[in-house]
């Protein structure tokens, strides 16, 4: 059984339900002692910006900012797709703690260790 787990997320405010559930599942993985990474790409990269998730709160779930903070505090990693981030003209100096802007090779390296992946 692999000790790694990847959650790939392509949504932010264009689908707050998916964005929220992705981090809930990521929290289940990191809480189950998996080396867990959330890969933010396409519209999902917005979630790496400080303050962006502050007003996202799906009914029946904790606020997204709390889910993200809890994930990072538990040791979860957040990888942010570099070209997706640059394409949108976002500010790399304004990203949340625990997030790292990476290229595709870093994602491939993580997945190459038999990591399962779930996509939202």
């Amino acid at each position: 059984m692999s000790n790694k787990f990847c959650v790939s997320l392509t949504c932010s405010k264009n689908d707050t339900d998916k964005a929220t559930v992705a981090f809930v599942v990521a929290n289940a993985a990191v809480g189950s002692e998996k080396d867990t990474m959330v890969f933010l790409s396409v519209e999902g990269v917005h979630l790496a910006l400080k303050g962006y998730a502050d007003d996202i709160h799906e009914e029946g779930f904790s606020p997204l900012k709390d889910l993200i903070a809890g994930f990072s505090e538990a040791g979860g990693k957040i990888f942010v797709c570099s070209p997706c981030f640059k394409k949108r003209g976002l500010d790399e100096s304004n990203i949340i703690p625990g997030a790292t802007v990476v290229g595709g090779a870093k994602l491939v390296e993580f997945l190459s260790d038999n990591s399962p992946s779930i996509c939202y």
């Binding site: 981090f23 809930v24 599942v25 990521a26 929290n27 289940a28 993985a29 990191v30 809480g31 189950s32 002692e33 998996k34 779930f61 904790s62 889910l67 809890g70 994930f71 538990a74």
Partner: protein, 71 residues
Amino acid sequence: MKAQLYWDAGALGCGELILELKKRISGLDSGEVIEVRAEDTGAIEDLPAWANLTNNKLVKADHPHYFFQKK
């Protein structure tokens, strides 16, 4: 069964329940027991799976009450 720690998780479920449980059991010593009360019906499957993944022992399960012995 005697537990060193009791936690009422209320309606918390899925990843929120798991992450909070991990935080709470981390404060115990090896061999100590936490009793969790978890109302979410998903807990019936999730909590035994979590025990299997983490090697913390599920000593007793009688939904909504679960007893885990820390590894």
